[in-house]
Amino acid sequence: MSLWSRIVNVVGGDRLSREIDEEIESHIEEAIEQGRDRSEARRAFGFALRQREESRDIRLIAWLDSLRADAVFGWRRLKKSKITSAAAILSLALAIGACTSAFRLIDALLLRPLPVANPERLHTVAFEGPSAADGKTRTYDSCSYPMFRKMRAAVKEQAELIAVSMYSGSTDLTYGADQDMEKAYLQYVSGWMFGSFGLRPTVGRLLTESDDLQAGAHPYAVLSDDYWTRRFGRDPKAIGRTFRMGNDLFQIVGVAAEPFTGTETGWVTDVFVPMAMKNPRTLASLNNFWLRTLVQLKPAVAAAPVRERLRAEFRAIQEERVKGFPAQSKRDRERFFQEKLLLEPAAAGRSNMQREYRQSLAALALLVALVLLIATANIANLMTASAAARAREMALRVSIGAGPWRLVQLVLVESAWLAFLAAAIGALFAWWAAPFVVRMINPPAYPARLVLPADWRVLGFGLALASAVTFLFGLAPALSASRVKPAHALRGGEDPHSRHRLMHALIAIQVAFCFVVHFAAGMFVSTFDRLANQPTGFSAERILNLETVTARSQPPAFWDQVAEHLRTVPGVERVALVGWPLMSGESAVGNISIHGEPPTDVFSDFVSISHGWADVMRIPFIGGRDFRAADTNPTVAIVNQAFAKQYFDGENPIGKSFERVEPAGGSARFEIVGFVRDARSRDQMRWPIRPTAYIPFQSIDPKGAFQPIGRGTFVVRTSSANPLALASTLRREVPRARSEFRVSNIHTQTELNQAATVRERLLAMLALFFAGVALLLAGLGLYGVLDYSVLQRRREIGIRMAIGAQAGDIARRVTVDVFAMVLVGGVGGLALGMASARYIESLLYQVRPTDLAMLGLPSLTILVAALLAALPAVIRAVRIDPVRILRSE
């Protein structure tokens, strides 16, 4: 109670002072009433002000009271120079906001533990090995289901293994008729996942191990709380409803409680179904890699022994798998056995988005941290300059008894005002900016949904950042204020050089950081530019891809019928069929054998197309012919230049033939009838265009019968410039042609092409933005310092001018020190940039840090900005009127 009353007294400090005064007065009155002399009574009391202070300190918490007084004083000072304060706070707010946004993204994607029991025990199995494409070491996460089951059995005693399907776009499902298909992100998970994670249902029940025993026997689904809210408005009657996906009917049995949304951080699972419900062929295949293996260690079990057991099991699995590849080449086999199993901690979940964006986010965080330091240096300079103007005030404070610590506190409280106001505005910025960035990571087929909570972690980071910044820019001025010598300062003398040295050093640091930011931004922009302008070999203009599915697989003739119908729609120029759109991320590969020799190490991509497709995509023929309506897979193929180069030494391949070899044995023979220019079929823009064989859309089985087709893409070239204008019409027209057909997704080709460089675009855009901010801040800082130094030296300049100095001489004198610092900073930035470049090398493409343009452009930009920033101060210096200045002194 006493502590509380003392805290309350801090708030009512003035009232307390009045009460103490009143009590003292009443005492003196009483003394006079008792016949004592008035002045004697007062004298007996001593120094009333000290009395009051002493009593005050007893009745409240002294340090809190002084803090309050400093806060009030600091606020008044901020209000006194509104524009400067606002500029300082806003620039700092932008930097703090950017840092907080970066933290929110990194925390949400990489650091935040999953809301499950004992997330620290959660690991994930990954594999590391040389890639077939370029021999570089790559890491992948996927397993096949038989592999998972063997590994689970191998470490049964030490750990629980959980299989989850990896994110691969959303699924079509319907709660009613086929016409009411909707999209949801459905994930296959081991039934025992919910139990192992200690999760509870909001309503109904969760899946258990008994829901995951027999393939196809457990058509039950659990919804995420988020999906239940969005789709059903939290209606408990949703339990028991059924939905159809493909040919399977699932029943909803429960809702998983918040905040669990799956383990694929960066995507939010809508519907969980048991692993056992995956199509039986996929489940049984040892070579179909489609799931991620999570490892939950049992209590007090170390990771290393579990990893060793898993490695031994993986080796055994490899030995078994290799028996299925009798036709494998020697090098492939070597590579196959070089693969190594890794056990990685996965407390924050594991997703491909993490792998893809980890480094980009780290680079971005570094850039915004540099921007924050630049903004901080600006405010440090501002505080130093104002400390110079306040030397007399500080001296006065020391003279009337303020200790050094009291002065440090005074200046630090002012800094804290700036930092915490900036942090508050920055928090608003981050509240908007972090989701904005997530929305940009938004390739059409894979919309990212990152859960971005604003909780104590983010709040704590913001507060820590604000405090750190306070000390960074407040401590030096505070310490210099505390060292003030009253006699010296009150006489008007001071040592201005120490201040200038500090300010100049800060300018050098700002320029160095600014250079690094520009250097990195330049490399990111040029990487994006080069990737985005990679020739694709086809024309994306006015192309619309209608990804289409059928209720049951349909004969090729029906697909042709739909294509024929679409050609009659007004606004449609040309229509063709392809297995999947180019650059959509999907691919199929095959081993190629020439003249019956063993297959080569280099895989070829296989794309199935209808006749007329090359024409729609504007891929020119070098020789041979297009497919005819009667051509089938196998028997004929069209190949690209890379294919001819790889397998026929670049000769014209028309009339030659090759065999597509299945790893499990068996082969199909193709005769090459057409030869086309290279076109990019994959979305990996950094890799060269791969050898590609185009095969007819319609396949026949060994008996010569046409095989029915369940999915394909109608490629439409429209006559209007905006192909999306036709999207809804075409979506309607497809089922009108044949009712079994339904459009699942519509994407323009341009959209798909842009999606291939979405990460690079994001990085380039944000880096460029922060480079602009860094330049602006550094320029403002330079301007401020120069302006201040001209103000300080106006007497000296006046004298120089009076005795005949030329304008050029004055300008040189005013700027030479600062430009020396700019130079020092530039060289430092160069060294820093070169040293850090190798950490971002893997984010770059065809850009080397040593390129002249990469180094020259930032240097030039910064030099021009420095000149512009120096101009007002130089003009001011040159315009000084010596007569007026000298008279005023």
Binding site: S2, H27, E30, Q34, Q51, S55, R59
Partner: protein, 109 residues
């Protein structure tokens, strides 16, 4: 001029004792009471009395109340609390122990 520390650290004890006998005294009254009852030997100075009163108030031994006198002026009256009564007993027995010990020394030497 009396010596500043003529009370030998017994100010708290005296204040508590006086308030236990005569509740509702203002600062001047307490000062006068110390002077009168000690036969002008002991004097509490204003400079140390008020901080001591405020300290004891914060410690919860005494409580203060503003009252308006007939003259219209407000005065702050102090009274003992239960905690103050306990403190008084403790201080009193400590004082007894110290003085008897000092007396013993004076007698034997």
């Amino acid at each position: 001029m009396p010596k500043p520390d003529s009370l030998q650290g017994s100010l708290d004890l005296l204040v508590l004792k006086i308030l236990s006998r005569r509740p509702r005294l203002h600062g001047y009254g307490i000062m006068s009471a110390i002077k009168d009852t000690s036969g002008d030997v002991l004097r509490a100075e204003e400079g140390s009395l008020y901080p001591a009163l405020h300290r004891m108030e914060e410690a919860g031994w005494i409580q203060a109340k503003w009252v308006t006198k007939e003259t219209g002026r407000r005065a702050r009256l102090y009274g003992l609390t239960a905690a103050g009564r306990k403190q008084l007993a403790a201080e009193e027995s400590r004082w007894q122990a110290v003085t008897s010990a000092v007396n013993r020394v004076l007698r034997t030497v």
